[in-house]
Symmetry: C2
Amino acid sequence: MTRWEPGAAKRLQEAALELFATRGFEQTTATEIAQSVGLTERTFFRHFSDKREVLFHGQHLLAQAFLVGVETAPPDASPIEIVASALRSVTSFFPDERRHHSRSRQSVIDQNPALQERERHKLASLAAAVAGALHARGVDELAATLAAESGVTVFRIAFAQWLREDEQRSLADLTAEVLRELLSLTRDRA
Amino acid sequence: MTRWEPGAAKRLQEAALELFATRGFEQTTATEIAQSVGLTERTFFRHFSDKREVLFHGQHLLAQAFLVGVETAPPDASPIEIVASALRSVTSFFPDERRHHSRSRQSVIDQNPALQERERHKLASLAAAVAGALHARGVDELAATLAAESGVTVFRIAFAQWLREDEQRSLADLTAEVLRELLSLTRDRA
């Protein structure tokens, strides 16, 4: 019978980040991650398909938060207002308590091209999913694609800023600021 | 002494696309590409570091076209006007005569996740280079990043449309249309 390990996923994630940071991602095995918190390799693989998954676990929740924000925008919202709603929904997913964890995760990713690729791929899929949801709301295809891509770009830039060493502002504030800048930028045309 | 092969790179590229399309990218070797046009493997490797490079050869010219467009925009141009200038510069790089070749290339890439990743990576690097050039012109960092990302997104969407089977419009027209749509989208806010 499989034993239930309360909080095992979270413990494995924290241990993995610690080991990735000190030894390097490539040099760390799933078994070592599990053993470092007194769990078995089997428990590890009950939660994650491989060590890379430890870093991308929860990505479907991010996508879900985006999509909930799209769906809960008022019926008469413009595409950009829908995207703004999606961004608000997503930022509530990253309270300041998560900043430290997110920074550790990012520094592991920044050191590994294959992980960076995984991240890019994930964001590309996210933009496609958001475009699909906008289109399902009746936004025409081109506007849906542009609005979704813009929304994901705003998120990506604000998120990178949020992770900077000396940054104190919340992700919600940063996202709102980057979106405002995008809107002002595209209005600033002769 | 190395023999000069006039037009070898172009012949190798065309032969490679043909073989990638009929046999599959994975199943085609550099030697086979060279032999199919009566050239040696050595000639192949004088032009390309590997078979993947055949598909991404000329990418630096695309980046260069973007940067030339940034640099030649009038001194008082707004960030979005600079991006519009960059897009005009880039589209002159893809006349309609190139559409068939670009379609063949894209269908090879669409069938191979590693090539798709290379493409994403290339576009991410392109956006970073354009942001750097905008920043060098005095645009502040956030605006430069947003404008560059938006420009590359517009290019990517217009380019995908240009490659569609039944599309007749030029890349220049499509790019201008997608940019207009982006501008109207971000103005459409309550």
